[in-house]
Symmetry: C2
Subunit: 311 residues, 2 copies
């Protein structure tokens, strides 16, 4: 493997949604394609570390998808199959690809989803709580024994409808991910740096604010890191970019077995690289056709485009 | 001087507006304060190289402003004084500081301004054509003898109203500056990278697209550089940020006497640093109270916040 530099691998637990997405962009359209936060995050993380996926699908979930996920280093023991239909999400994008316009959300089996971790999953050292109801995120945390690192994501819906529970999650996680609009909304603070500081005061030692094509910033109480967006001329479908970013980030940290500032910085760049591939095609198509060498090459490109010397 | 590393200094010619600005932001208000693209750019450039300012003011222009500009290394022989009133601009900003809402523009003496370069100015090696009528930018170029480097800026008004002349300017300059919205508008291309490539095909060897708080990207036919915005928690007045950026950029290039990729990258960071100070206060107040050591310190901060290691 391209990243075999002697770092220890550690498994990553990914909790979230596995879905059928119907997406239309100015560059094409896909109906009922594989989607969901946990799908993107798992496959992305699996480039760097073994993954344990915790999610639910319905009886209609195609065996071919299970097979494809299983071909990666993803343990599917925690993928529940429940009576009913798989979670479905429909949206379209206009030329401003930063804005998803949701046209339908059918929770289906997700409505009664209660993550129940297989016993051997409870010792997983690295956890990614992707964007689901904070109550479910908390229930996963309650089932874990001494996790080494907890990373969480969220979205505007939970900020508006489950603020208190979300604050509980933030108080119990090590790294909080959010996009810029969500950070501003949660903190009621237009300035992003000030919002970042407020987020840090809510508990997490590290806050990563995703800014879409403008990259991401990472803040802790005594450090600040800024990562550029990878310059893409052709973006076909931005769906899953944030989840892919998170998966790459956590996977890389798990592989390195540590989360100090230097490792976190490399993890942010790794997450950006993974996300830049996801948006090149619909669904998880690009991730399923991605090599470690391509990841390493794009990482080097980002290094080259950010370098400059001292005055 | 803090930047005395043996690089040769070269004078910079700055052409543009000197104005009285009345500005209101959520953080305060100033009436008829010193402003104008050439004021910001000249003072910013003067931190790095001798400057020759070419502009016009009216009979009402306060001697104290002339004195303050003259106290920098700025040659005012090209600052014409014409009968009538100085150019005036009024605007306000809401919490989205990226959007200036112009309430009044009084061209006054600027209306009949025809830049007439003193004879000894015509050999200046470095030229910054700040955001004025492209016809005036061209008339300055026509007066120059073998400039070493021409940098130009523009704005949406000229894209809409003087497109052909603007294209002539772009064909004759080495470095074109523009903000992201202007690049998209001029190229009729929503994707910024694609817009950048189109701009390069219009003539300039280097294109720098300013993205406000998100920093800037610099493109040539075979390179790409991305510079972050400096993270500021308190921005009092964004007026002049782009002109200050440009002045710092050109001044730094003039000081180094070259414009290869490595020098251009350092110049972009230097421009960002200078702009980050301008927005901390109204008018040119912060620039007039800025030390070389502060500039060097902030440059080092930006270096530190962009560093990361290989995979």
């Amino acid at each position: 493997m391209a990243f075999d530099d002697g770092c220890p691998d550690g498994p990553v637990l990914v909790v979230g949604s596995v879905a059928y997405d119907s997406v239309r962009t100015p560059f094409g359209e896909r109906t009922e394609a594989l989607g969901g936060s946990a799908s993107y995050a798992s496959v992305s993380a699996s480039f760097f570390a073994p993954v344990r996926l915790v999610a639910v699908v319905g009886e209609d979930f195609a065996p071919s998808h299970v097979e494809r996920l299983g071909q990666r280093d993803i343990d599917l023991a925690g993928l529940q199959r429940a009576p009913g239909k798989t979670f479905r999400w429909s949206c379209y994008y206009e030329y401003d690809l930063s804005q998803a316009h949701t046209t339908a959300t059918e929770l289906n089996v997700f409505e009664s989803f209660r993550p129940e971790l297989p016993s051997n999953h409870r010792d997983t050292p690295y956890i990614f709580l992707s964007n689901i109801d904070p109550t479910l995120q908390l229930s996963v945390l309650d089932q874990m024994r001494h996790p080494k690192l907890v990373v969480c994501d969220t979205m505007n819906f939970w900020i508006e409808n489950a603020r208190e529970k979300l604050l509980e999650v933030l108080a119990r996680c090590d790294v909080a991910l959010m996009n810029d609009a969500e950070a501003r909304q949660l903190c009621e603070e237009p300035n992003l740096i000030a919002a970042g500081r407020k987020l840090l005061n809510m508990g997490p030692g590290t806050v990563i604010i995703k800014k879409g094509e403008h990259g991401a910033v990472m803040m802790s109480h005594d450090s600040y890191f800024t990562a550029p967006g990878y310059p893409l001329e052709e973006i076909r479908d931005p769906t899953g970019a944030g989840d892919t970013f998170a998966g790459g980030l956590v996977g890389y940290l798990a592989r390195c077995g540590k989360a100090d500032e230097e490792t976190l910085r490399r993890a942010v760049i790794t997450g950006s690289v993974m996300a830049s591939f996801t948006v090149e095609d619909f669904s998880l198509n690009r991730l399923f056709n991605l090599s470690h060498e391509e990841v390493a090459e794009r990482y080097r490109e980002i290094m080259a485009m950010t370098r400059f010397g001292g005055l």
